[in-house]
């Protein structure tokens, strides 16, 4: 009914809807999100039971910082990219997207164009080397309290036999403020 009315009164919008729907179904079938065609499939899969869960924590001299005291946006900006950085650190700072970029563009584009594309999509060593400096600045912005130093660590959480955190933390990086 709606589409019929649109077709009769605003033909261009009708075709825009048809194209948008086709694109949405295409990307849904492919399972690849392409803004603005969002795919709301989060939490759809049956999650498998896990013995332990990896968590990232910020350790200070006064204990662990509670990221839930921050707003959702602050804690997301502060904490989410650490796991990405940590993953890249394990890969000797080779961005995991590099093979995809190579597969899509290498030997298909002139070398200069390929280099331009690659530099736009792939994080390089210089960016990784600047990461902890950026992270420190953003931490100082969102937490007004001054710190002498903080350690970003990874740990494990277990729910069985009772809720507990692994006694040993694995250090990802350390920031010194003074």
């Amino acid at each position: 009914m709606f589409l019929k009315k649109v077709y009769q009164q605003w033909r261009a919008f009708f075709w825009a809807i048809i194209i948008a729907l086709a694109a949405q179904f295409f990307f849904m079938a492919k399972g690849i999100e392409n803004v603005p065609f969002f795919i709301y499939s989060m939490y759809s899969y049956a999650h498998q039971p896990q013995d332990s869960f990896n968590v990232i924590l910020v350790k200070t001299q006064g204990g662990y910082l509670n990221p839930y005291q921050l707003s959702g946006r602050e804690s997301e900006m502060l904490m989410n990219n650490i796991s990405y950085f940590s993953k890249m650190k394990k890969l000797a700072y080779q961005d995991y997207i590099t093979p995809t970029v190579e597969r899509r563009f290498k030997n298909k584009l002139p070398i200069n164009t390929y280099n331009f594309v690659e530099r736009g999509l792939v994080n390089n060593h210089l960016q990784f080397s600047k990461y902890t400096g950026w992270w420190k600045r953003y931490l100082a912005t969102v937490y007004k309290n001054p710190f002498d130093s903080v350690m970003v660590v990874s740990a494990y959480i277990q729910y069985q036999p009772e809720f507990s955190k692994s006694p040993v933390d694995s250090v990802i990086f350390t920031c010194y403020f003074k």
Binding site: F2, K5, V6, Q9, W10, F13, I17, M28, I32, E33, N34, V35, P36, F38, I39, Y40, S41, Y43, S44, Y45, A46, H47, Q48, P49, Q50, F53, V55, I56, L57, Y64, N66, Y68, S71, G72, R73, E74, E76, M77, N80, N81, S83, Y84, F85, I97, F116, V117, G120, L121, N123, Q127, F128, K130, Y131, W134, R137, Y138, T141, I157, Y159, F163
Partner: protein, 278 residues
């Protein structure tokens, strides 16, 4: 095309929707998440999204994120445009700037944070105001409403298709994962007790998951009638409140997705009579 009588009160809606968007931008400002407040993030994360790829190849997010002067100018222009749209709804120039601005802000933020978020209410709701003619705006606003219904019904279908709905203990595992670090800091209190109870009772938590799936699927009704919009709105609000309390997923950015289900004609009558009495 002869101009037909407007179904929706566009001017009043523009003021309220852009006012709402302005409050979201104020929230971003107060939580250090406007571009100029991000301290020039160095890592980017375009992932596999082609739109992100295109913008990153041309260095647009990098340019906006890396230059303080540029990001500050961006934030100021976006905010001023949004305020202009509140008070001058019958124009297209500032609406375009606002729409383009919030989409760029979203892409830059997600790229820097390393995760592409699904909180998109504030991206979608301003789009219909790009139309100035009544019948075009009505179609776009209805189109937005159908698109929101489509997104949530799609989410419900995904939960059925990928097995989350049929699983006996999916929600319990999701709660364990999403609350692993939260429990370190919040071991006591009603919220912690409730989450712990749901983890320990997978059958009950799984029925909550199924209820959430049914809430998603209930938006199917929205394709056929607007009569139940207040109930659909109620289902959406409860769904997002549940996400907030159990999974700590904030929905302030997503809140504008509720706008298509508000009774705009009744609000217009109310505001009109209030102003007449004044």
């Amino acid at each position: 095309m002869a101009e037909t009588k407007a179904y929706y009160p566009r001017k009043m809606m523009a003021s309220l929707v852009f006012g709402w968007l302005f409050l979201i931008l104020v929230y971003f400002f107060s939580t250090n998440s406007l571009l100029s407040q991000l301290q020039a993030p160095v890592l980017i994360s375009p992932q596999s999204d082609n739109t992100y790829w295109m913008l990153h190849i041309f260095r647009i997010p990098q340019w906006l994120l890396q230059h303080y002067g540029v990001s500050l100018a961006f934030d100021i222009i976006l905010t001023v445009s949004c305020i202009t749209c509140i008070f001058v709804p019958d124009q297209r120039f500032f609406t375009w700037i606002t729409v383009a601005g919030v989409w760029l802000l979203y892409i830059c933020y997600c790229s820097a944070a390393g995760k592409h978020y699904a909180q998109i209410g504030y991206l979608l709701a301003p789009i219909p105001f790009l139309a100035l003619r009544n019948y075009k705006f009505d179609f776009l606003w209805d189109g937005l409403r159908y698109w929101v219904c489509f997104l949530y019904v799609g989410a419900g279908i995904f939960k059925l298709y990928y097995g989350g709905f049929a699983s006996p203990d999916n929600m319990s595992h999701i709660l364990e994962q999403m609350n692993a670090d939260w429990f370190i800091f919040n071991s006591k209190g009603m919220q912690a007790d409730t989450i712990r109870y749901l983890i320990d009772h997978p059958g009950i938590s799984q029925w909550l998951f199924r209820l959430a799936c049914l809430a998603d699927l209930s938006l199917l009704v929205g394709f056929f009638t607007k009569k139940f919009d207040k109930w659909l709105l109620f289902a959406l609000v409860i769904f997002h409140l549940g996400n907030l309390l159990l999974l700590h997923i904030s929905f302030i950015e997503q809140s504008l997705i509720f706008a298509p289900f508000l009774p705009w004609q009744r609000l217009a009558i109310y505001f009109h009579s209030t102003h007449s009495n004044d």
